[in-house]
Point group: C2
């Protein structure tokens, strides 16, 4: 949000304009990043990494949505993170992946080979700094989600999820945040359930209920209109608007 945004010349074919690691790099550093970078695409539903696998890259989501999930032996699944465009994947200094990463929609990733990236990071304090910042953001998000999972009702959970998606959508859209929001749900009911610690039936019922109560409008199963974000956020039980509006 407040990170300086740069139309960087080298890393510039990378359409990431927000939260990028390279946002403050100089020409030399960008060239170096460019040399160890490659793109990779995944189809919706495909796994990207399995928990425990050795990861030989780090990178950012360029487009599409990926999810981090944890699964118990008996199959219970909890999504522990959503990766939206510009989000970072991988943890410098760690061998294996800690979670399953999968493409929820078609995904394009911009990857950096891990070894040279770590070396560059070693020499370039502001990249390490950026990474720390991003990790702190993720930690905040994870902890906010703990409140959702631990204490909110099903209806509040759905409203929270819709708020978050609307918010992220707004930050990527030129128009930005307004009181009326329109967006597409990038998740199936099942994926929403896994994120919210609910069953897909409950998700479906609560979405129907929010629709019946005029909090949201639905066109098809995925296209959502929120006539009044304030009401949605009340439903979410958030005390603040999360900086959504001015």
């Amino acid at each position: 949000m407040n990170a300086p945004v740069l139309s960087h010349s080298r890393c510039g074919d990378c359409p990431i304009r927000h939260r990028a690691v390279c946002a403050r790099c100089n020409a030399d550093e960008l060239e170096e990043l460019d040399a160890i970078k490659y793109y990779r695409t995944y189809e919706a539903g495909q796994p990207i990494i399995w928990s425990g696998d050795v990861m030989n890259f780090v990178g950012s989501v360029v487009s599409g949505i990926a999810s981090l999930t944890q699964t118990m032996e008996d199959g219970r699944t909890q999504m522990v993170g959503l990766l939206l465009p510009s989000d970072f994947v991988g943890r410098p200094g760690r061998e294996g992946a800690a979670y399953d990463v999968a493409a929820t929609t078609d995904v394009v990733m911009c990857c950096f080979r891990k070894k040279p990236f770590e070396e560059l990071m070693e020499r370039t304090p502001h990249i390490a700094h950026r990474l720390l910042e991003m990790t702190l953001d993720e930690l905040d998000a994870a902890r906010e989600w703990m409140l959702v999972l631990g204490r909110k009702t099903a209806r509040e959970k759905i409203a929270s999820l819709l708020s978050i998606i609307a918010r992220r959508d707004a930050s990527l859209t030129p128009g930005g945040a307004t009181n009326r929001m329109v967006f597409d749900l990038p998740l199936t009911r099942e994926a929403m359930a896994d994120y919210l610690g609910l069953t897909l039936e409950t998700v479906s019922r609560q979405i129907s209920a929010l629709k019946r109560d005029g909090i949201i409008e639905l066109e098809g199963k995925r296209h959502v209109t929120v006539p009044d974000m304030r009401r949605l956020m009340e439903e979410a039980g958030d005390d603040s608007d999360g900086g959504f509006l001015g």
Copy 2:
């Protein structure tokens, strides 16, 4: 765990020997840390920081236990982190605190004034590096907890919490992890409930149930003996033992 541990000369009156930011510092850096450092004690139950307050320090817990909590306007609270000795508090580069921090038991903190600490960090890559590592650990813990909150039953939640406390206890005790563990619960039933997203009645009932089933033994309300950690961890539904035993 695998971070090099140093009996550092300057920061050495600080009894933290694990995860400390200063573990790799040289003499000059330690002197500098020493100059900006002070101790502070809090009684059990006292607030340390309120969410939103401006924080003018960062630091580590030296002894005792502190908790991070989030509260909704209607009073529902969720604990989002437990701070045990050697855990770090505060986020370099951030103005305000994101959560309420409170002393659960009597707490001693080793604090560094924030401004000079950030400056030192700017000049000292390995401190930033250490901080990133610690933040990644916290992120992992938070995400592991998301699985607990979202998908585990009350009994599994209790078993998970007991496992974590036993594990942390073991890593601080010379003897280390054995199959039989004895420790004191540092939390009230209510605090456990807030951590687990349950009510205190349910916590009490499940503890009684684990006791009845011989998974744990209780002496008084707080002193716990786990005759067989393996059984406890089965109850927790963990597929791995979290590296608890060799």
